[in-house]
Amino acid sequence: MELYNGPLNTKEIFGRWLDEEAESNYGAYIPFVGTIRAEDDIEALSFDIYEPVLQKWFDEWQEKAAALGAVVKMAHSIGDVPVHTSSYISAVFSPKRRVALELIDEFVEDFKANAPIWKYDVKNGKRIYAEDRSTPMDGAGLLN
């Protein structure tokens, strides 16, 4: 798992991941790129991350992937990420395509639901919590 301040250098990261697994005998490599769209007059999105819980979440996914003979990788931005740049990339390597296709779907969806990352719209230099697009994590409401 890789965290960066500001936008991701997607080409460098994807290229390096390919190099890392070049001799691993995986038959499938499926990358996902999340890019900031220009909408609602935003200048950028901005992110807070709670790394200790994110690392545990990611470690569990590594174990799940390993049980299928696969590997998951991810990188995410911290702080401001301007429109038309990327804040999140992930990838699955697996021996055959079916496992990778299914895992990237599950991994990205669970990421959206349970990775401890908070998103803000940046408008006129101000951060506004993206409350209407955010999802309560599994177990939410325990203290209510």
Partner: protein
């Protein structure tokens, strides 16, 4: 004494309190008016592990994190 920290957009300074279980933490946080709209949608971690049980026993020095709704990517 345990510490409660509020992550992401909640924007509240950490609190220290005496609490034997997470239920005690819940009771104390309900007294904080600025948290009234947050608690129903926040998840909870104890020492960076997600927890789901109000009877979870706490010990001196534990750290409880309050995690509001997320949206990575």
């Amino acid at each position: 004494m345990i510490k409660v920290e509020f992550l992401g957009p909640i924007g509240k300074a950490p609190m220290e309190m005496e609490a034997a279980t997470l239920a005690d933490v819940a009771a104390k946080l309900k007294e904080e008016s600025e948290l009234s709209s947050w608690l129903e949608k926040c998840a909870v971690a104890l020492n960076d592990t997600m927890v789901n049980d109000l009877t979870t026993v706490l010990k001196d020095g534990d750290r409880v994190s309050i995690l509001p709704p997320v949206c990575g990517g």
